[in-house]
């Protein structure tokens, strides 16, 4: 990886962007007419879901690349992205529930997007469980690459099926036109979370690399 994308510089960039996004989201953007202050959760909820999804896409790409190149580093990348994705997706789901309570009166509705996110989370928790239960590194990389690929291929089908299940003959609610500062806060949040994803993944990737080194050391001292 090139010099500019060191974990440190990524971390600083993510932190700064996140600070600006918070300021715009909390201070600049107007309060929502209908939902009130609670709507501001959106500025974290949507970016978290987006970056979680992006992380799972990264797992998919890294898994395919691993099967072609058979390079252990690509496996570490898939591992790192899956863990970060699981954290972000969990955050998105919890925030969705917190947002849902005052808005809909219940913690959980079977909203298509929320439900799909939960199924996705379950798929990648399974991926991480699979990693945890396989010992031999090469074999783990190989088997988990398949799980990472198959899991992502399921995403569109899960979303479509949940959407139809809820609302086959009524259009899904589309967001009304929203105020410009609101949109700006949202985009800044998405940008900040994407940087955070890159930062966390890089750090986790480094750790995964060290873990692999350590694993090998342990093996060779038996």
């Amino acid at each position: 990886m090139s010099r500019i994308f060191t974990p440190k510089s990524l971390g600083v960039a993510a932190g700064l962007t996140w600070g600006v996004a918070l300021w715009v989201g909390l201070a600049v953007a107007p309060t929502d007419h209908i939902m009130g202050q609670v709507q501001r959760i959106m500025y974290i909820h949507v970016p978290a879901a987006w970056s979680g999804f992006l992380a799972f896409f990264l797992v998919f790409v890294a898994s395919i690349a691993y099967l072609i190149r058979r390079d252990a580093r690509l496996d570490h990348l898939a591992h790192a992205a899956a863990e970060v994705g699981v954290v972000f997706m969990s955050l998105a789901i919890v925030l969705g529930a917190v947002w849902g309570k005052p808005t809909w009166g219940v913690w959980w509705t079977w909203d298509p997007r929320l439900t799909s996110a939960a199924v996705l989370l379950a798929i990648y928790l399974g991926y991480l469980a699979m990693r945890a239960f396989t010992d031999e590194p090469e074999r783990r990389a190989r088997l988990c690459a398949a799980v990472g690929i198959i899991g992502f291929l399921d995403v569109p089908l899960v979303y479509l099926s949940v959407l139809w299940w809820r609302t086959l003959h009524q259009a899904p609610s589309s967001p009304e036109t929203i105020a410009r500062p609101m949109l700006m806060a949202l985009w800044l949040g998405v940008f900040a979370f994407t940087l955070m994803l890159a930062f966390f993944t890089t750090v986790r990737y480094q750790t995964a690399h060290w873990e692999a080194e350590l694993e090998l050391l342990e093996v060779s001292h038996v």
Partner: protein
């Protein structure tokens, strides 16, 4: 048993000088352990090659590579002079491995196990041919008994019958004498002789040096991941070492 059509493409070609199998610079790495470093050798038609080495020297690993079950980290294998280039199918077509595990199905009878193996290899075997194959390993009496009730020696005999029935041009034997009685030990030697006499080839891994040197035409000694053609004097007492490589 008749040769199957699939095997015909890799039948020994006595006119050509190409070896049955040749390994060039084969290395196999598991994690940081380099089990094989640079194994280079030829297996010639009409010969039996012994593969000797201490426990952990890489004999089983090398046989699994030759069986097409494992692709080597580095190096190349040629079958009948043609390089594989990452397609192990030619290797699977020309070899069959008698492994430590029997690959048998416990719920099936001896006959059914053999028939399955022959069909998977692309051949066809009549009942009498299968009965004969079982008779050859002294299991005629247990023909219709399920493998679940076999003793370990009987399983080993049946496993031998299985690879023989697959009629591979190159027969790979991994510790074929383990858990066999005297009669069965002679059976293995007979099979080796038959393969050699038929112009085919055998590679046999064993830790029984005297036996291998008596039965085989020549031996390879696996020491430190390298296949040596002579018994290494300096290594006579030292165990084979696992090597570490830089990450």
């Amino acid at each position: 048993m008749a040769y199957s059509s699939r095997r015909d493409s890799v039948q020994p070609d006595k006119g050509s000088a190409a070896p049955a199998l040749s390994a060039h610079g084969v290395a196999q790495r598991f994690g940081r352990h380099l089990v094989l470093r640079d194994a280079t050798f030829d297996v010639l038609w009409g010969t039996a090659t012994g593969l000797l080495g201490a426990n952990g020297a890489g004999k089983t690993t090398l046989l699994r590579i030759l069986a097409g079950s494992l692709s080597p980290t580095r190096g190349s294998i040629s079958v009948g002079g043609a390089c594989l280039d990452g397609n192990p199918d030619a290797l699977r077509m020309s070899t069959a491995l008698l492994a430590g595990e029997s690959y048998l199905y416990d719920a099936l009878t001896a006959t059914e196990n053999l028939r399955f193996a022959v069909r998977m290899t692309g051949g066809d075997a009549s009942d009498s041919q299968i009965a004969e194959a079982l008779d050859n390993v002294g299991l005629a009496y247990a023909r219709d008994r399920r493998v679940r009730h076999f003793s370990s020696g009987m399983r080993k005999r049946l496993a031998l019958a299985r690879v023989v029935a697959m009629e591979p041009p190159v027969l790979l034997l991994d510790e074929p004498y383990a858990s066999l009685d005297e009669d069965a030990t002679c059976l293995v030697d007979q099979v080796v002789d038959r393969w050699r006499a038929g112009g085919r080839a055998v590679v046999m891994a064993t830790h029984r040096r005297e036996r291998a040197e008596r039965v085989c035409d020549h031996c390879l000694y696996l020491v430190d991941g390298v296949a040596l053609p002579e018994y290494p004097q300096s290594e006579r007492d030292g165990p084979s070492r696992m090597m570490e490589v830089a990450p």
